[in-house]
């Protein structure tokens, strides 16, 4: 695959959040604000790049029986390392992400990319795929988090200072008072509704595009599986 195709797959055609619908649990649970969406997105991105790179190095030499077990072990170790590093250097972000940080281990996106792509591709492609898929996930998390924060709290980026530990009393833009916020946007049902709207927007764009470009992406599933 060409680098451009890998990037296009991750950010658009096979976007984990809007097309593959992988990792929805953290996506919906954590995207309550721009800051927490950005935090989980960056943590997932870091884990994906590292796990893709590592698995591309060892993947092809592994006996088939233990391949998945080895992937899970490696991903779990990487996530634990990222979690410890965040707890030490970015405690605010660590506290804000809570249980969803260790749960990156179970994010099916990470294992899916390891199994379907990284273990069959050279290191360069695998790293790029980790960046593209993680970046695509990050974009959806940040977009959903921003919309929910604006609707629910009337601010944008209002908790960035706590995440980054810059110590300032406030950050971001405050458009209207929190008491006038649309509470539903912050609750899980609001997350589902807004993600649904995002999916609808994406489908509408697909439908408007020429049929040749849209068909493959909607039915293709994980590209690596088709190749195997």
């Amino acid at each position: 695959m060409t680098p451009a195709a890998i990037l296009r797959a991750g950010f658009r055609d096979q976007n984990p959040g809007l097309v593959q619908l992988l990792g929805l649990c953290p996506l919906l649970a954590v995207s309550t604000s721009l800051g927490s969406g950005l935090g989980l997105g960056l943590a997932t991105l870091a884990v994906l790049i590292a796990s893709n790179g590592l698995i591309s190095l060892v993947g092809r030499s592994l006996p088939a029986e233990i391949r998945i077990a080895v992937f899970v072990l490696l991903i779990a170790a990487l996530v634990t390392a990222v979690e410890l590093a965040l707890a030490a250097w970015l405690p605010g972000l660590h506290a804000a992400l809570g249980i969803f940080l260790p749960l990156i281990v179970t994010n099916c996106l990470v294992l899916a990319r390891a199994e379907a792509f990284a273990s069959r591709q050279p290191v360069g492609n695998a790293l790029l795929d980790g960046f593209a898929m993680g970046g695509g996930f990050l974009v959806v998390l940040v977009a959903l988090g921003s919309v929910r924060e604006v609707l629910g709290r009337g601010s944008l980026g209002g908790d960035l200072h706590a995440l980054l530990g810059t110590g300032g009393p406030t950050s971001g833009w405050h458009l209207f008072g929190e008491q006038h916020g649309f509470l539903l946007a912050l609750l899980p049902p609001g997350a589902f509704i807004l993600l649904g709207l995002g999916l609808a927007w994406r489908q509408a764009r697909q439908a408007a595009a020429p049929a040749s470009a849209s068909g493959a992406a909607l039915t293709g599933g994980v590209p690596g599986e088709a190749a195997s």
């Binding site: 060892v58 592994l62 006996p63 233990i66 779990a76 990487l78």
Partner: protein, 221 residues
Amino acid sequence: MAGNPEPPARRTVRAAIVLAATAIAAFGLVAVVHEATRDRIAATARARELARFDQVLGGLLHDNDLLADTLTLRDPELLGATEAVTAYRARFHGQPVAVVLESVASDGYSGAIRLLIAVARDGTILGVRTVSHHETPGLGDFIDASKSDWMQRFTGKSLGNPAATRWRVRKDSGDFDQYTGATITSRAVVGTVGRTLEFFARHRDELLGDELLAAPATIQP
């Protein structure tokens, strides 16, 4: 692999060795990172707890290390937690001046609300803070000090002020305003603070006394 068939037994052994080697490598990575971050994480956690103590003690003068002067308590009825909770003693010149009690409101709207309650020698509350909760964002999270100052209404109150039977929300004919739209959360917190004061009243001497303290270095007047 495909062009060179291995006997099944060798294949199994090879798989086992690869798996074991991966486990050791993964363990090694975690061990190295853990070692590199341990001191920083411990320092961060300590700083966070000390900052929290400063908030509930409301600037009360003390000169000891609260984290090193603790009591382990267990009273599911009054402190709300089935597991043991910790009390931290604040001293000035060796004299106990206040106790910071951990307490749990388990009858909130959603899960346990963990509170930290500082009680002065004379039984008045110095401050109450929420340590963790799962109340609905925008409705029940007024108990979070960063969202509203509702929790400050407990400061200066004691078991006689108001009377023990008045430690309820107004809806239950008590003396505390419930937060609009979140009566269940308010009721749980008010009740828990009241019960914690009752625990303090019952065990005042043990909480403030020195007999339970292992280190005999403190001076008893």
